[in-house]
């Protein structure tokens, strides 16, 4: 209940800010409606529905246990790290890290996860870069490539 209320409240605030800014877009030319009416049409009902979920939340949220939450946090961090390290490290090395780390987070045995990362990062590079022709840098910018 609390979680649904909290998340709905966040959506309500976002919709309110959205509607407020939507109302400020004005132009003196163009079509009859202009750029601000549609955001208001969308934003106001969004506020109403989100608000009604704050007051009458339908159904509760079952959060995962602490270990699972930690694993989800690790997974998100791994994904973000991959986005930021892809260019510096190059595709195979970064992808090795991504696959090995995610596999281990998902409960794969450590050695097998590393083997999977090593094998699949190379396979994917060969498949996409060499065979299918999508340019994926083999070495990243930190190697001077």
């Amino acid at each position: 209940m609390i979680s649904t209320r909290l998340l709905a409240a966040v959506i309500f605030v976002v919709a309110a800010v959205y509607t407020y800014y939507g109302n400020t877009y004005t132009v003196s030319f163009g079509d009859v409606l202009g750029p601000s009416v549609f955001p208001v049409i969308v934003g106001v009902p969004a506020m109403i529905f989100a608000g009604s979920l704050v007051v009458f939340p339908g159904g509760g949220v079952q959060w995962a246990g602490r270990t699972h939450l930690i694993r989800q946090g690790i997974a998100l961090a791994v994904l973000l790290a991959y986005a930021w390290l892809l260019k510096p490290l190059g595709f195979p090395l970064a992808t090795f890290g991504l696959i090995a780390a995610l596999a281990a987070t998902l409960g794969g045995p450590a050695v097998k996860s590393i083997q999977l990362g090593a094998a699949m990062s190379l396979c994917l590079w060969v498949l996409f870069d060499q065979i299918l022709g999508l340019p994926l840098a083999f070495l990243g910018t930190i190697f001077g490539a």
């Binding site: 649904t4 009859v32 969004a46 339908g58 994904l79 986005a83 995610l102 998902l106 409960g107 994917l124």
Partner: protein, 504 residues
């Protein structure tokens, strides 16, 4: 007769070497995605879309590939339902009810072959229906004006969440969030940048494909991480693939009934393949369960839902192609691809791009034959590949999603957007808010706003234009009736739950 000559020209498109290759690989990949538990049709199709862009495929070829994958997942979903008692994807849930008991009795090969044939019958009925009814619907939709389209989109948002078991407020809120995201970027009519905060990355708006991959693929990883991951139960071994003809013949009426019910469910907005299989199964149970054999391995209980979900997935293509309004999650994702390639589905598509429409229809006929071969004699390949554990599968899915999104624009910002949408999708799913209306809002938002503004320009600012045509009045009436029905069902379910809580 006109349909036949159009279909013949469609076959010339579908038989080009590239399209044939895409068709076969799509069928194979689709069956595999369907068979692997944890990867459903929506995720599978969403991950593949960026790759079709990266390879520079045109709209026809991309659509052929994705439809082959889509049909393949519907065939493949049954494999793990029958052998593992774990549905490979959501529409295959009903197949576990009688498929797994059948396999436990040592009739795994029969169950697989039977459901393969049932899938073929269902999908073929749907493709025939598609060839006949889609052009008719498109011809009717040509009379739609801007105000009618606005009404149609509102109906699509209200109905896509389905009628039962959902809180209509959540469906609508999801659609509105999608519409809010759709307005980010430069307003195409006045040129005013909206909600961009001066960030030039979002001047073109949020790329729907990037958002989709995040919403479906990345959030799926987060959802699976909270489940207790354990080794899967061992699959029941399969000996041989030849179906027994007498079993097959005994289910012919179940297949046909299932196909027809599934097809209707697929065409209706908001139903989709899952509801198609549920309806086919329960109707078949009512019609033929005389000796109480359903749920204990009755072949008819395998045939009906399989025919139903395949027929529904074909039927769901009809509103997507002829109205531009998808009836299910997977067709919504396919619509995203078409819009990103500047193909606007709808009545004009049938006039302007007959090659695309009829090439797709012809491909679907061929995909069915291909899938029948893949899924009966070659079933052994998939039962072996199905043994890949989740911890090994999902990281590869993540890597392929990254490759696809990165190759669209080589932009790190897109990767960040994808991850952010993954987290958003996860939170919304935790709140029991379906993501499909959000995707629909994100996709149709631009067009919905344009139609509204066009209608208002025609009427010079008079809002009553929105309810002046019979088409739009009928659409609003249907929308209100639908929302009323689902609100009533939601309140009833709520009361029942409260009563149960009190009783305890």
């Amino acid at each position: 007769m006109e349909t036949l000559s159009l279909l013949a020209s469609g076959f010339t498109v579908a038989l080009s070497p590239l399209n044939l290759f895409l068709l076969f690989s799509g069928c194979f990949v689709g069956t595999l995605i369907g068979a692997l538990p944890g990867l459903g049709p929506v995720n599978g199709v969403a991950i593949l879309i960026p790759l079709t862009f990266a390879f520079g495929l045109d709209a026809t070829s991309s659509l052929i590939l994705l439809s082959a994958v889509y049909f393949g997942t519907m065939y493949g979903g049954r494999i793990s339902s029958i052998l593992l008692n774990i549905p490979g994807d959501e529409p295959a849930v009903m197949t576990t009810l009688d498929g797994y008991p059948m396999a436990q009795k040592g009739r795994a090969a029969d169950a697989l072959a039977l459901s393969g044939v049932a899938s073929f019958v269902g999908a073929t009925v749907a493709v025939i229906g598609l060839s006949l009814f889609a052009p008719m619907l498109a011809r009717a939709a040509i009379h739609f004006g801007p105000a009618d389209y606005f009404a149609l989109y509102i109906m699509a948002f209200a109905t896509i969440g389905g009628v039962a078991g959902v809180d209509p407020r959540k469906t609508l809120l999801s659609a509105l969030i999608g519409l809010m995201i759709a307005t980010i970027g430069i307003d195409p009519i006045s040129g005013v940048p909206r909600y961009t905060d001066g960030n030039f990355h979002v001047y073109d708006g949020i790329e729907p494909i990037v958002a989709l991959v995040g919403l479906f693929a990345i959030s799926e990883i987060l959802v699976l991480l909270e489940k207790h991951i354990k080794d899967r139960s061992k699959a029941i071994p399969v000996d041989g693939w030849m179906p027994s003809l007498s079993t097959l013949l005994s289910t012919k009426w179940a297949m046909l009934r299932g196909s027809l019910i599934g097809f209707v469910a697929g065409v209706l907005p908001g139903a989709g393949a899952s509801l198609g299989s549920v309806m086919s199964y329960s109707m078949e149970k009512q019609a033929s369960d005389k000796d109480g054999t359903f749920g204990k391995g009755d072949p008819r209980g395998v045939a009906a839902p399989e025919a139903g979900n395949n027929a529904a997935s074909g039927g769901a293509l009809i509103p997507m192609l002829s109205l531009g309004v998808p009836g299910s999650g997977t067709t919504a994702v396919m619509l995203a691809m078409l819009i990103s390639l500047n193909v606007q589905p709808g009545p004009l598509l049938f006039e302007r791009q007959p090659d695309l429409v009829w090439g797709l229809v012809a491909s679907l006929y061929m995909a069915n034959v291909t899938l029948l071969i893949l899924n009966i004699p070659l079933i052994g390949i998939f039962t072996r590949l199905m043994a890949v554990p989740t911890w090994a599968l999902l990281p590869i899915v993540a890597a392929v999603s990254f490759v696809g999104v990165f190759s669209i624009s080589n932009s790190i910002f897109d990767l960040e957007v994808m991850i952010a949408f993954g987290a958003l999708g996860y939170l919304l799913r935790k709140m029991d808010i379906s993501l499909v209306p959000l995707v629909l809002g994100l996709l149709l938002g631009g067009d919905m706003e344009r139609n509204l503004r066009r209608a208002m320009s025609i009427s010079d600012g008079d809002w009553s234009i929105l309810v002046q045509s019979w088409i739009s009045i009928a659409l609003y009436a249907l929308t209100i009736a639908f929302l009323g029905l689902s609100a009533w069902l939601a309140i009833k379910a709520n009361k029942r739950e409260k009563a149960r809580n009190l009783a305890e």
